[in-house]
């Protein structure tokens, strides 16, 4: 449970915490919805979001699944195998490249090399690469936010 002693009204802890800054929360939710609804591969995005959530220790993010990713075929077996994505046969080469890029982005963006960039960018159009990087930015920022404030998932939000 979050350590915050002041929260806004809301049905879930996530709503109660983000309700303290409703304008930013609403705009953030709209951006997330657009990211997922316009994504060419929402499963890939979801895997990257969950990998970043693991690195940052965001319990809420780890419990939550975006509906469009589930509808597109996200498998919980694959989610469970994320820690071994570099070698697991459950992941495609493209997923491995993107997950590696996501890790580097989240942990040390200044250490991201031209080669790191190219191995993902060469497989995408510029709009796709831009959208993918936008998505990673949101995943990274929000996972840190939720981890730091220790936002707990509600039962209705978990898998």
């Amino acid at each position: 449970m979050t350590w915050l002693t002041e929260t806004a009204p809301g049905p879930t802890e996530h709503d109660r915490v983000l309700g303290l800054r409703p304008a930013a929360a609403e705009r953030s939710a709209e951006l997330f919805n657009e990211i997922y609804s316009s994504a060419a591969d929402p499963v890939l995005l979801e895997l990257c979001r969950l990998r970043i959530a693991t690195l940052h220790g965001s319990r809420w993010d780890l419990a939550y699944r975006y509906a469009s990713a589930v509808a597109a075929g996200l498998s919980e077996d694959v989610v469970q195998a994320l820690p071994s994505y570099p070698t697991s046969p459950l992941f495609s080469d493209q997923q491995r490249r993107c997950l590696g890029f996501a890790e580097q982005y989240a942990m040390d963006v200044q250490g991201l090399t031209d080669q790191d960039f190219a191995q993902v960018a060469d497989t995408m159009s510029v709009p796709e690469m831009t959208a993918f990087t936008f998505a990673l930015g949101m995943f990274d920022g929000m996972a840190r936010f939720r981890a730091i404030l220790d936002i707990e998932p509600d039962q209705s939000e978990g898998v």
Partner: protein
């Protein structure tokens, strides 16, 4: 209030170019940009316009509604700019570049001491803490231990901590975006 993000970041970057070393300025641009088009403009408005509308709205929600004192806001923002290595963000000055904060002036000396001289007597404890918070947020939030939180809770209300966290997350997002594509350095070269 709506902030013209693209124009403001280009202005911020352009005024920084004379202060940078060659290595930083030569960092490669990682996307192709049509001749005659400013790289930042291209990335933010041409590549993914459907997302940019939402990003601008989020940015306005953060910059336009913040109630944090400007120096605390800037201390945290500058720390994120340093961690991200984003040149545009390092030269952004909110008192200059955000219309509704132009009445709040911060001398350039205040910014200069943020580069490794936090003991400078021009800083308040809240400003130092905002800077430290942002650094831990970006580099190792797992290091936010009980001792750190005791200091934070002594200086800030929960509501202020949430606002600081929202702002810091938004800065992480925007600065890293510019850095990854190299458009921060490219814009500074103009």
């Amino acid at each position: 209030m709506t902030i013209d993000t693209t124009t403001n970041v280009v202005n911020a970057a352009t005024s920084l170019s004379s202060k940078l070393g060659a290595a930083e300025l030569e960092r490669p641009l990682r996307i192709s940009v049509p001749d005659g088009v400013e790289p930042m403009q291209h990335l933010l408005t041409s590549s993914v316009p459907h997302l940019m509308d939402k990003v601008t709205a989020l940015s306005n929600a953060v910059y336009g509604t913040s109630t944090l004192p400007l120096r605390e806001f800037e201390a945290a923002r500058v720390r994120i700019a340093q961690v991200n290595g984003c040149l545009v963000c390092q030269n952004w000055r909110s008192a200059r570049d955000i219309p509704n904060r132009r009445h709040e002036q911060i001398p350039e000396e205040w910014y200069e001491h943020l580069d490794g001289d936090l003991d400078w007597d021009g800083y308040t404890e809240r400003e130092r803490l905002a800077y430290e918070f942002a650094g831990r947020f970006a580099e190792d939030h797992h290091s936010m231990d009980d001792e750190f939180w005791t200091r934070m809770h002594t200086a800030f209300s929960d509501d202020e901590i949430v606002e600081l966290t929202v702002c810091t997350g938004a800065w992480m997002f925007s600065g890293r975006m510019l850095r990854v594509f190299g458009v921060d350095a490219a814009t500074c070269r103009i």
